[in-house]
Structure formats: C-alpha cells, structure tokens
Amino acid sequence: MILSVLLALPVVGLVIVLFLDKERHVRQIQGVAIGASLAAFVWSIFMCMAFATEPSRGPMAMRLEYQAPWIPSLGIGYHVGVDGLSIPLIVLTTALSLLSIVYSLRITVRVKEYMAWFLLLETGMLGVFVSLDFFLFFGFWEIGLVPMYFIIGVWGGPRREYAAIKFFIYTLVGSLPMLLAILACYFSMPEPTFDMVKIMQANPMAGAGVKAALVFWAFFLGFAIKVPLWPFHTWLPDAHVEAPTAGSVILAAILLKLGTYGFVRVILPMFPEASARFADYMAILALISIIYGALCAMAQSDLKKLIAYSSVNHMGFVILGVAAVAARGGVMASITTRTTALNGATLQMVTHGIITGALFFLVGVIYDRAHTRNINEFGGLAKQMPLYAGIMMFACFASLGLPGLAGFVSEFFVLTGSFSSYTLITCLSAIGVIITAAYFLWMIQRVFLGPLKERWADLPDMDWGEIVATAPLCVAMLVIGVYPKPLIAVMNGPLTAIVDHVTRLAGLG
C-alpha cells in the first residue's frame, strides 16, 4: 500500500490543481504542486525506512509488494513492489521533481497546466519504477511521454514544436515495438499473465530462436531510444535545448533512467540468453555513444547542448556495464567483476541524475540572466558571479569524474568491472573520460575565466530559489563521492542476484 500511496500523492495534487482557477489562484496552484511533490518526497523517505525494516525473502524478492487482480480475463494485475535497484531511483525521482517544481515557480505562463503536467509526469515516472506488471509498466511508460511532450511543446524555446514532436515520435516509435515485445512474451507464457516476476522466472524467450532475438531487439530499441544510445540519440539535443529548465532537468535526470532501468530490470533478467548473444553489439554501441557523445559535446557552443551530449556520453557507461554483465568473451570475467560492472552502471544512473540535474538547473540560471547560452559570448564570469561559478565548477568536476565526487565512483566501478569482460572496449572508452574532462575544463575556461566582458558587468549572482534547487544536489554529489557504501549496499543484493540469474541461464563462467 505504501507504493500505491506514493503513486497517488502527485495525482491528488493534480486533481486539486485542476479544480483551482487558473488566473486567480496562481499562488495556490504553486503551493499545491510544491505540497504534493514534497509529500511524495517525504513519503519516499518513509518508504525507504519501511523497505529497510521489511525482512528480505531472498535476493531477488521484491519488498513492499502489493498485488490485486485488475483484468483477470487477460491476466493483467496491479502488481507493485520495489527492490534495491528501484529504491534509489524512486528517491531520485521524488527529490528532483520537488526541486524542479520549486525552481519552476518562476514560470508565469499557463501555470496551472504546467504544474498539472509536472505532477502527472512524476506519477508516470514513479509508476515505471514500481511496476511489476508489464501492462502497468507500459501504461506508466506512456503516461510519462505525454506530459513531457506538452512541457517541451508549450513552455519550450523557439523551436519547441519541432523538438516536442521529434521527442514524441522517437519515443513512440520505440514504445510500439516494446508493446509488441511485451505481447510476444505474454503470448509465449503457458498461462496468460503480464506479471514481470512470473515472466522472468518462466523465461519464455529461452533458446536461440528468431523470436527471442526479435523480442530482445524490440525491447532494446524501446529502451535504447530512451537512454539514448547512439544512433538513436538525435532527439535528445533538440529536446534538451528547447525544453524549459525544469523539463530538461527531469528529462536528463529521470526520463533517461527509464531506459537504463529497463535494461537492468527487463533486458538482463528476462532475456539472459539473448543478452549474452548480443552483448558485444551492446558494448560496441555503448563505446560509440561514449566517444561520439564526448566529441559532440566538445564541438558545442551552446551550453545546454554540451550537457545534453555529455548525457549521451555518460549513459554509454551504463550500457557498457550492462553489456559487461552478459559478455560471453573475457577470460578473466567472473561473477564478481560482472557484479561490479552492474553496480557501477546502476550507480551511474543515480549519480548522473544528480549531477546532470544540477547542471541543467545551473544552465537555466545563466540563461535566465544572460538570455544566451553561447559559451563563446561569456568570459570571466567567476568575478561577477562567484557563487554561481563555484557551484557550476563543482558540478562540472563531479560530471567529469573527479575523484571524491559522485561521478568518479560510478565510472570507476563500470570501468573496473567491464575491464575483465571487454578489455579493449573498456580501454577505448576510457578515452571518453579524458575527452569529457577536456570539454568541461575548456567550457569552464571560456565561461568563467579570463577577463570579464563588459556586457555581463551587471549580472546578479544566484538567488535563494536557485540555491535551494541546486545545493542539495551538490551535497549529494559530495556524499556519494566520499562515502558511496550505503547506496551500494542497498543496490548490491538484487544486482548480485540478477548477475547470478544471467550467468546461470546464459551459461556464462
């Protein structure tokens, strides 16, 4: 029931918002939105405590489960539950939704609709992370699509309509094959059921048939577009550039994680053999994403595009870690190294969410003041906005993987874990880390260092709302960077179980 309440809290806020007058009650609308997202955040902390106190019933078992029949004639049920994989992502979602809504208080156009879409978006994202029934999973997956479409399309930049449509079409093109793949799993089960746990246990796509390959690639496409993995990434820069700040934050921090979460929750455990068969392709695509994303980021003069491409780069590491789990080759690969890789990949989802969320907030801060994001137009801002420069550099360092900050831990885990499975690919992808350091440092140099340009002489530093939105994220970067153990302890159990499951079913050493 705890999870159902969590899903319901934003919806309750949404319903209240819908009943408020869009012109007279702007303050109340904002208040309700903040209240609902704050309630969801507090409730998610409470959920963590309940999760910790509930005894575990085995490594792969879900906790806080709730199950009820919904459409029994088709085997569709309402089944929710969490494990160590989804818990951090849920907290990340509620936290960033809260921060985004706080940051969005500066939105003045069509506030009511904006807040309503945002709350719906939050429920959609949370729903994906807690669903244990494919039908529910897909429903929430689609629900997340619609609000983002409108957030980009209505409150976005000059080319918002193009970006919104592109985002929508790409994701829809990805989700339709996924729906078909879900149906293929459903129809391959001995009894009609959409229950993800049951499907995972029954492993209906066992063997090396064409059907298993098709289903694997259909799921792969759906998730890879969301991640986004090269070559399906072209919607991302457009969507990010045009989306309003809070939309970019949610897009980068959470929506991309829906894709990578799908890789860990669906692709690995449900199609272990197919994953092993196609792991090499995944690793190569991940490598291309890492290098290509980094190079593209280096070429950008738009700050937002730079960070968008850095997401492509960082998400590549997640997929590399996933591929390393199922890799057939690799003499030295053992369950331990595979688990390290998967731990790194999952940790990378969380840290990337925190770091890139903060970065997009910070880009929003400068854009609101300067009305430009062109890196070459800035210069010497460190003198004018010391606090902003400090926080921005801190976040950039976290992103480029400075030891002691969050980004380092996860990338280090991925690289160490993958090394045994894919030695060459891992070595090559380490180049991506170097390029990442280069473009972030170069960007810092061009924006913050050097002489202050005349036209920026009266830019104010960050205000309280902006500090409130970014400071918690910076604290989290430092804490995870210095002491990642508690987070890893939560995730390690289910991830080890997934690795066990995959290696056993796919016959890996």
């Binding site: 459409i71 029994p72 088709l74 429903g139 689609e142 399309g153 829809l172 339709l176």
Partner: protein, 526 residues
C-alpha cells in the same frame, strides 16, 4: 430454447420493437404539430422514448434463447447486446442532432422519426432469425439511411451522397437476395432455428452439403460487407459519410455497421462453419485488405468526415479479425469459474461497444468544430487547443483510443481481438495450404496485419492532435482565432458520456467482459 407454435406467442418479447415503432409515429406527429415553434419537442420525446426502451431491452438479457413468431425472430443475449448498442447509438445521435438539424428548411421533427425507425430496423437485424426477416430488416435500415443521408436536400453534396449510397445499396441488396435464394434452394428452408431442430438451415446444410453453398455464402457476404463497409464493398462509405449531415454520418458509422456484424455472427458463426466451411479464410483475406485500405486511404484525407469514414472502414477490418477467430481464445473468468468459449465473438462485441463510444465521441467533437468554423477541413483544427481546450483534449482522448493506446477502450477492443486470433493461431485453427508447400497460419498473419495497421493508424490520428496543439489557427483573423467555440448542450453531453465510457471501458474492461462471458451466445449459434 423455448418454442411456441402460436403465431402471436412471444408478442410480449417484442415489446421494445413495438415501443420503437409507436415512438416513431408519435415523434412524427409531434414534429408535424409543433412545427418550428417548439423545436425541442420532437428530440426530447425521442430521447425519452429511447431511454424508456433501454430497460425493456435490458430485461431480455436472461441467458436463454427464445424463438418467436414461428421461428422467424429470436430473443437471446446476442440480440439484446446489439439492440442495446442500437438504442444507445440512437440516443446519442439524437443528442448530437438536436441543434444541428435545426438548419434544415422544413419540419424538423420527421428526422427524429426516421432515426427512431432506423433504430427499430437495427433491432430487427439483431433479432432476425429467418433469411426473409434478415432481408426485410436490412432493407428497413437501408431505406431509412438513404433518406437520412439526403436529408439536406438543398445541398447537392447531400443529395449526391444519398444517390450513390442508394445505387450501391440497391445492387448489394440484390446480390444478397440472390445468395439467399440459392441458400433456400439448397436447404429448403429459410429459418436459422428450426422448430424441431432438423429443419433448421445450418442442420440442413450439414446434412446435405451442396456445391452451391460457397456461391451463396459469398453473395450474402457482399450484402453484409456493404453494410459494414468491408473492402471491396466500401466505396460508398467515404462519399456517403462526407455528404450526409454529420449526425447521420455518426449514426451510419456505428449503427448499421454493428447490426451487420450481428447478422454476420448469426449466419456464419455456426458449428463446423456450416454455411461454407472456408468462409473464415475468405473473410480473413478481406479483413486484411479492409484494414490496409482503410488506414492507407485515411492518411491522405483532408476532410475530417472522410478521414473518419476511412478509419471506420479500417475498424471494420479489426472487428473482422475477431469474426474470423470467433472460436479462438477461450478465456476463464477466473473467480467465478465461468468460461467464455468463443473468445473471438466476445472480443468483437467488446470492440463494438468501445467503438460505439469512442467514434461517436470523435464525431461529436467534429460536429462542434464544424458548427463553429463552418468547415470540415482538418486544417481548421489548428489552434483548437487555444480556442476550446476541452474539445481539444476530448478529441485527443478519442483519437488515442481509436489508435489503440492503452489504457483506453480502443486498446482493449484491439487486444481482445488480437488475443483471440493469436490463441487460435497457437492451435493453427485456420490454415491455408498454398502451392509449393507453403503453409499459412491464417490467424497468426491476421494478427500481424492488425498490429501493423494499428501502427499506421497512429500517424493520421496523431496528425489531428498535432494540428490542434501545435499549429496556429489558419484562415482566420486574429479576433476570430481567439473566439471561443461553445458546443451545444446536446453535443457537450454526448462528449461527456462518451468520454466517461471510453475511460471506463479502458480502465475496467473486465466489467463488460465478465458480463458478456456469463451470457450464453453459443446456444443459438451451434
């Protein structure tokens, strides 16, 4: 099954039809008396009458079959379902037409009388159990449809539509009558349910198979295909839909189509497919053609009514999947242990119920927009999200449901239909052997075609959504573009009713499915 040899026995079970017949006369009288002084009198009486008819029909839902009037008319759950659909469609169309038809230059009450009688015709189609009664019922509906299509007689488009519809319809009917006469020649009876069993048409056909059967079956399919707008007998639909007054278009796209499926079910869904054992393969091919042609043509339409016309052709194709797979996909209604043995048939019924609401909803929005802009062009949907956000969001939901996005009614309609086909395909229930040793699992490919088509359809439905939300209003000056659109009360209530139904059938499909599963259809079909 109860039988009674008294000609008048079972008159009480004919009460809804009698009520409808009388209601039509009353409405006609009221319309003539009140003229244009109280324009609301006729539609309000129509609504009241149809509303009174609903419980009368619903009371017949008794899980038993009674054949009345010497075996020519049947009252069973299948008939009741289609009668409910007909009456509901009639009621919703009355609400839509209330203000729309006022622009007609003559007595406006008689339109509603025609509508009521058309509903009566649909009910007769649902219950007809004799070839002759089937024919008469179809003709009743057809003639009334022709008149309603041409109701705006001063508009050339309307008259042209009516004439085209009539010419096509007349030919289709003639062909069907010829098929029926062949069937009579083979079986020696016109009755689907014989008084003593052995006399019945299906039994006769099983006992004395004849080479004429395929010809007769195909000819009858022509007539029914015309009613449900199945390719290649769909040519009338876009023109008739475009020219007819839009409420009539809405009615044509659900009423006669549903009733056509009622007769298709009664005639063809026989144990061992007695009428013509190969009909599922034939209909499967036609279903695939129907889906592809409907969706493909819909992409290119610039007129909302023509687009919905082609989309309704495509939807007939999806429903035909369920017809072909009528025996497939038995499902258990778990907690009560009931088993619905004919999954495909139930899926078609669910599809029809969901289609009734989502399609009428889409038409209601189209009418509201047409009344405001005076134009049926899809381009005029630009900027609709600003001019009336409620209409825009309602249209979006109907179109999403029509394209089959979960969790709306349309998705489950498709899902149940595809489910039946794939469960049937697992048993290779219908297979086709082609030359060169090619073996085709018909149901599997039917399901694949259905899925591919659902994806094609997303494109043209979402195009309308794109226009409504992301394009500025075209062809209007700034003041007009800001001008809000206010739909009439009738249209607004239809939109709300259909929205609620679209969501309910999507979120709780089990309610209707269980209801269907607990009723006994196959009794009359075996």
């Amino acid at each position: 099954m109860t039988l009674n040899l008294q000609p008048t026995a079972g008159l009480d079970q004919f009460a809804p039809e009698i009520l409808l017949g009388v209601l039509g006369l009353i409405v006609l009288g009221i319309g003539a008396l009140t003229k244009r002084r109280w324009p609301l009198a006729a539609p309000v009486v129509t609504l009241a009458g149809l509303f009174a008819c609903l419980p009368l029909v619903a009371m017949q839902w008794r899980h038993e079959q009674s054949v009345i009037f010497l075996g020519s008319y049947v009252v069973d759950d299948l008939a009741v379902f289609f009668k409910l659909v007909a009456v509901a469609a009639g009621g919703l169309v009355t609400l839509i037409a209330m203000s729309y038809m006022r622009r007609v230059d003559r007595d406006y009450g008689e339109f509603f009388a025609l509508l009521v009688w058309a509903v009566l015709g649909l009910c007769l189609m649902a219950g007809a159990a004799d070839l002759i009664v089937i024919l008469l019922a179809i003709e009743t509906v057809s003639l009334l449809s022709y008149v309603m299509t041409g109701y705006l007689r001063n508009e050339p488009r309307s008259a042209e539509a009516s004439l085209k519809y009539f010419l096509y319809g007349a030919v289709a009917s003639a062909v069907m009558i010829y098929g029926m006469s062949l069937l009579y020649g083979v079986a020696g009876t016109t009755k689907l349910y014989g008084l003593l069993g052995s006399e019945a048409l299906p039994m006769q056909l099983r006992l004395h198979p004849s080479p004429l059967q395929p010809i007769a079956a195909v000819l009858i399919l022509v007539g029914l295909g015309f009613k449900i707008a199945m390719v290649p007998f769909h040519w009338w639909a876009p023109d008739a839909y475009e020219g007819a007054p839009t409420p009539v278009t809405a009615f044509l796209s659900v009423g006669p189509k549903a009733a056509g499926f009622a007769i298709l079910a009664r005639l063809f869904m026989q144990e061992g497919n007695a009428l013509y054992p190969q009909w599922p393969t034939l209909v499967a091919v036609l279903a695939i053609a129907t889906m592809f042609l409907g969706n493909w043509a819909a992409i290119w339409q610039g007129n909302i009514k023509r687009m919905l016309a082609y989309s309704s052709i495509a939807h007939a194709g999806y429903m035909l999947i369920g017809v072909v797979a009528w025996q497939g996909g038995a499902w258990t209604v778990s907690d009560r242990g009931g088993i619905a043995s004919h999954g495909g048939l139930h899926a078609v019924l669910f599809y029809i119920a969901s289609y009734l609401f989502m399609n009428l909803g889409a038409f209601a929005v189209a009418i509201a927009i047409e009344r405001a802009t005076g134009c049926e062009s899809i381009e005029r949907y630009g900027g609709m999200a600003k001019r009336n956000p409620f209409l825009a969001i309602a249209m979006t939901i109907f179109l999403l449901s029509l394209s089959g996005i979960p969790p709306l009614a349309g998705f489950f309609g498709k899902f149940y239909v595809f489910n039946a086909a794939i469960r049937g395909a697992a048993d290779d229930a219908i297979s086709l052997s082609l030359p060169f040793g090619i073996h085709v699992n018909v149901l599997f490919w039917l399901a694949v075609a259905g899925v591919v088509n659902s994806m094609i359809a997303v494109y043209y439905y979402m195009n309308v959504v794109r226009l409504m939300y992301f394009q500025p209003a075209t062809g209007l000056d700034a003041e007009e573009a800001e001008h809000a659109i206010v739909p009439s009360v009738g249209v607004q209530s239809v939109i709300i009713i259909t929205l609620v139904a679209t969501f309910l059938l999507g979120l709780l499909p089990e309610a209707l499915v269980r209801f269907l599963a607990e009723s006994v259809f196959p009794g009359g079909l075996s």
